[in-house]
Symmetry: C2
Subunit: 379 residues, 2 copies
């Protein structure tokens, strides 16, 4: 593909949420014309690009949309991959490749992939329904994951003991040994068509105990050099084995005995990479664009330590969003608020994020706590 | 004004060029709905926001546009200020204030303002036509500026000796003593309605000898501490005397004998502040938005030394733009390309800019030269 930068070139994104929105923000610098498909007419991207309202899982909708574009990418995995495969047959570029979206879409095939390629991951059993979970009660405590359509903390639950099996998913899923982990880290890795590979430094995530969503993130992860390189080596193996073109977020556990296990991956910009907009030389959004456009990958160095706080809708509030405390927060140096353009807040809805950049790690943590305690999304 | 962030709030921008485009990029983070007025249906902003095609200098067009917005700002000075004044009377917020746009629009009133307020500026004579220039030939060598509608190097010329008077502007203008300057610097200063004032560190500009456009820019300016503070003090005096709300770019000369003289100002984001996107804690675009929305002003510290190169259309090429060398340039660490979404290039048209960020000043200068020599906008 030549780079006309980008006279009549049209990049289609399946999904018009916040990740698409930040891809558009990055793509403006390269004259990229975006076209967005999303079922929500008020999706975060709807005013920023050519916008089509339609179902991402519908074959005909995705076909028609894809045929109007020169290159198609995703910002959510739950899309009609049969249509994407057909588009590839018809000569369209689709990155990440439809087969890989399909592989990753289903946590069962994803886990099987790691096992087959000897990529370290927690032990698991595939279960077809609740009965099979029951049959494997000796495997508890375990994490029960729905094979398909889990997203943003939905479709994942911990089964600690036998009585929890009552709530087990009665659909194809995975039962995964509960990992006694010390830290949860993530490495973003990108690969272009030429085969160049580039990593971002590992970051460290702190999950919300109930919502199973990233609540805080710190970059770089406070881990030993050995673990740093091991995490990058594993992320590299995953993207190379997949031969994926685009950005891949590889979420990993660091176990209490110092091993790294792959938890899961996402073939797109990811919640664990928002802070790269301000804190790294190249952002994850620009890197994804560079990868799928077969451009040279960007330098990923951290400029300064950073923290990222997800802005989730407060519990107890549903309605037109208000952002209490935003003025106090943006009065602090190095605090960058990103709102996602969603009119309606509801409990735990991702309404935005805040990146804090500070050369001093103690001051960084203090500011991150202040942001968390001060900025509240209510109705 | 309360900050609903920004459910139904609409910010109108008069002008839909690259400055508007980068304001939109920054405003996405605050959920700002933009509405753009520009005479060119293909203006750089046309696909990124609600867009109205119309003349900025037409009273009725500006009135109708302004009435559909909650707050109106500009990204170019050449607008109908009578309409803006009428909008203020009707209760709309307009920042910068229409009276100040008018003052700045005309280089004659602008110079008079500096003289009246004892703000240091080069000596000048107001001239009504070519004949009056002729009468003041003893004032040469001088810079002859058109009072109104000069922009991007147009409407400014040097008259070195008597024979140059043949090309003098035959319209109201200024004849300004040619300053034997050592450096040309710029300070961006912002002020919100509360009266908070914040500066960016002075930057240093190198102009293209023919086109009279900024060709290179380095941040921070290599000047003594004394000059650094003097430049900030003068920029502060200008914005305080004007009581301007918004961002003001104050361009200044450092004379060979170490004095600072104000050259001219622009009441909006400015070419001398593009590099703040990557190189400062807060960008000039976000700062302008903070100022006009009466939010706390952002910290302006430089994160790293930076250079900015304007991408001007190469001489000899007019037509659909191509960006030769872009891949070599973005392969370098810390090189950030910003294209402006203009389909057609022509000689000296501003097609984009490149910011280079590097902790090492020698490496920075080397990269800036490489970018300048490598990346060419042709047709």
């Amino acid at each position: 593909m030549t780079q006309p930068f980008y006279q009549n070139f049209k990049l289609g994104i399946l999904g018009g949420g916040q990740l698409g929105r930040m891809l558009i923000q990055a793509g403006i610098n390269y004259n990229i014309n975006f076209s967005i498909l999303d079922p929500d007419p008020q999706a975060p991207c709807h005013q920023l690009a050519e916008f089509t309202c339609g179902k991402l899982t519908d074959f005909d909708t995705v076909m028609a949309f894809g045929q109007s574009c020169d290159l198609i990418t995703i910002e959510i995995e739950n899309v009609n991959t049969a249509a994407l495969k057909e588009l590839v047959k018809q000569g369209k570029k689709v990155f990440p490749q439809p087969e890989l979206i399909e592989l990753i879409q289903d946590k069962r095939t994803q886990k099987q992939f790691y096992q087959d390629r000897k990529i370290p991951t927690a032990d698991f059993i595939l279960t077809a329904n609740k009965e099979e979970v029951q049959q494997n009660k000796s495997f508890l405590p375990a994490v029960n994951k729905l094979g398909r359509e889990g997203y943003d903390g939905r479709g994942v639950q911990v089964l600690k003991e036998e009585k929890d099996i009552a709530k087990a998913f009665d659909a194809p899923g995975v039962l995964e040994k509960l990992v006694d982990f010390r830290k949860e880290i993530s490495v973003l890795v990108a690969r272009n068509e030429k085969g160049d590979v580039s990593f971002f430094p590992p970051v460290e995530m702190v999950l919300h105990p109930e919502a199973n969503l990233v609540e805080y993130l710190f970059s770089p992860a406070q881990i030993s050099n050995g673990l740093y390189w091991e995490a990058q080596r594993i992320a590299s193996r995953v993207i190379e084995e997949m031969q994926l073109v685009g950005l891949l977020a590889v979420e990993m556990f660091v176990t209490k005995d110092g091993k790294i296990l792959v938890n899961e991956v996402a073939p797109r910009p990811h919640n664990s990479g928002h802070q790269t907009i301000e804190a790294n030389t190249t952002s994850q959004y620009e890197q994804h664009l560079r990868a799928i456009l077969n451009l040279p990958l960007g330098n990923t160095k951290e400029i300064m330590p950073s923290a990222m706080v997800n802005l989730l809708g407060e519990e107890g509030f549903t309605g037109l969003a208000k952002y209490n405390g935003i003025e106090q927060v943006i009065a602090l140096a190095g605090v960058h608020v990103h709102l996602y353009g969603k009119k309606i807040t509801k409990p735990f809805r991702k309404m935005g994020h805040v990146t804090i950049v500070d050369a001093d790690v103690e001051s960084l943590k203090k500011k991150a706590r202040f942001v968390k305690d001060t900025l509240k999304v209510i109705a």
